[in-house]
Amino acid sequence: LGALRWHFLLQSLEDLQKNLCQLGSCLLVIQGEYERVLRDHIQKWNITQVTLDAEMEPFYKEMEANIRRLGEELGFEVLSLVGHSLYDTKRILDLNGGTPPLTYKRFLHILSLLGDPEVPVRNLTAEDFQRCRPPDPGLAECYRVPLPVDLEIPLESLSPWRGGETEGLQRLEQHLTDQGWVTSFTKPRTIPNSLLPSTTGLSPYFSTGCLSVRTFFYRLSNIYAQAKHHSLPPVSLQGQLLWREFFYTVASATPNFTKMAGNPICLQINWYEDAERLHKWKTAQTGFPWIDAIMTQLRQEGWIHHLARHAVACFLTRGDLWISWEEGMKVFEELLLDADYSINAGNWMWLSASAFFHQYTRIFCPVRFGKRTDPEGQYIRKYLPVLKNFPSKYIYEPWTASE
């Protein structure tokens, strides 16, 4: 995890702590290896129940299985509930004959058979905690949320994104207000502004669990229901959520999902090993201003627009450098605030044409694609100050300019 991701996480935990305190409870953060922590604290604190979100990543699936075993051994109940995804992915697999749908269309068809996801649970109130004994004040200090200095990362995050449910909910409200375009039914064309850090972007809040995907789903459904025309399924509005669900489902049922070797859905391609070029891509030194501006924003802020992700992912793999998507995935894992096991690997495989095949593969041109999105090059000027005064005509291809 990069420093920006840590900051986001810590901010999220602080926010959770603050909100719980307002309800008369509090958050205790215990650091250490999970089995050790449980063994130490079960008896000490008389713990009778451990709850966790149902997990899909292999590491966490194993963790859940281990915790269940510990539960039998040490005598506590283990409760796991579907929280990360809209649906219980096992049901999606069952309806598709035990295997995950590998095309989005097929996936949508299966979802239509499932009907709507479960409604989100109601909010917590102070009454919910009245029967709980508050923990000793001393404990709160001992098990506080770690500070940046504890993790040896820089004190401040320079990213405009702040973690936490409070911030997430504010953005959610703003996002829904902005959905005014829904009623006029025109899809927003990608405008240069949308490449800039979004004030209504929600992806890091979903991936860290600050916001519930089901809450968002139902809020969007309500808006849609109020709009005048009903001819289209709300696929396009809830697209972000459904793509996420798609990748979660595939990942949950595919071994070695984050690797090429041993991954049954991934094409085995003879990528080049080129540490130097990979480094140049990672550090925004490819010489293509469009690519370098995107990689600069990624490093500085931890978020880039999804079209920007397409551009740099294609560039690294199928488009220009022919380097393995696994390398790109690792860089995104480090730098992206919303990096997610399933979505990251899934998209990298998609963009490198390693899986999820269309009939025709699309390659994004590192010059032309940027020009279409932002003809005046404002985005490049912002993130590559060295090109601030470069004429728009050449800013995407500086090598074509005369001396």
Binding site: K187, Q268, N270, I343, N347, H358, Q359, R362, I363, R372
Partner: protein, 433 residues
Amino acid sequence: MKRGRKTNDANSSSSEETTEKESKRHKVLDKQTIAVQSPDWANLLQDIILQVFQYLPLLDRAHASQVCRSWNQVFHMPDLWRCFEFELNQPATSYLRATHPELIKQIIKRHSNHLQYVSFKVDSSKESAEAACDILSQLVNCSLKTLGLISTARPSFMDLPKSHFISALTVVFVNSKSLSSLKIDDTPVDDPSLKVLVANNSDTLKLLKMSSCPHVSPAGILCVADQCHGLRELALNYHLLSDELLLALSSEKHVRLEHLRIDVVSENPGQTQFHTIQKSSWDAFIKHSPKVNLVMYFFLYEEEFDPFFRYEIPVTHLYFGRSVSKDVLGRVGMTCPRLVELVVCANGLRPLDEELIRIAERCKYLSAVGLGECEVSCSAFVEFVKMCGGRLSQLSIMEEVLIPDQKYSLEQIHWEVSKHLGRVWFPDMMPTW
């Protein structure tokens, strides 16, 4: 097993004293007794083992061959060595496994005369290409029917000294004498080696794929067309195409061509001058082979399309790998009546409404369309689909291609298009990352 044998011996010694009938009965009984005891894997008929082995991947077969002598014999039977794919990757730079060098040695030693259908998958390193040539040079007792040289990454055969490659390839050409299918794209094959190919295999050659072979000249490929009258599939670059070639492929002695693929490639804008082909040559070509698939891949810069689509051309599958202008697409509509599949990677940003509608009107066989970075208004797109109707079995349109207008929004268009196609249709969506 031993027990079984002992019983046999015991019986055969006593059978001398009994009648023939009785001894037969004893023998039948023995077989039954043996069958009731544990089945003898080693005595399994070799034909059966061979059948089973044919289902196993090589590694599993190799393991099985270590079990006993009989199974080992089956492992080396010619039928299991007719097809082989040599995978040559350098471990230092490749993600993929390579065929074990020991196995390669064994094959050359014991099975080279069994090999008939061979391919080489080679990574981007020169060593792998050299290793492939090394093996080829040793296939002296081989009578190959198919040979494929496949570059899985950057073409490394081109890094070899030309003579080295040619001499290795010639070994196969001379020894095989019944080559039917040859794939040598991205290799330094040249005119003289094609002559050798023709001298030895003219009666049997049916398929020849040699895209991106820069050392071959139009005369070289013409020699192949002139002599190999059974040639049914050919793939080459545009610079090798000539009027003479098309006429040679259409001569009375020549079979009907089934598949002709032409790659029109330009590395740097303005660098290559593309010659023109006479309309009469295409006419003769199509008259001789009316059902041929003519596949053309264009990797040109927008300003280089001048010589093309000026008159009717019998192309069936058309792929524009780079950006192509509205003007050229307009000409395509006018000149390609046999068009079956059209893929456009990108276009300047003006809507292709008229051009698409013209294509729907005039290309009555069009059944597959793919549009990448283009723009089409929703109304025009619906009109296009309406005109083509259900014959469009493949319609891959990126979501961003469709521009909503007064008549249709994006949400409505999927419904309209589905109606006209007679099946549920959505544009291609890239994931929202």
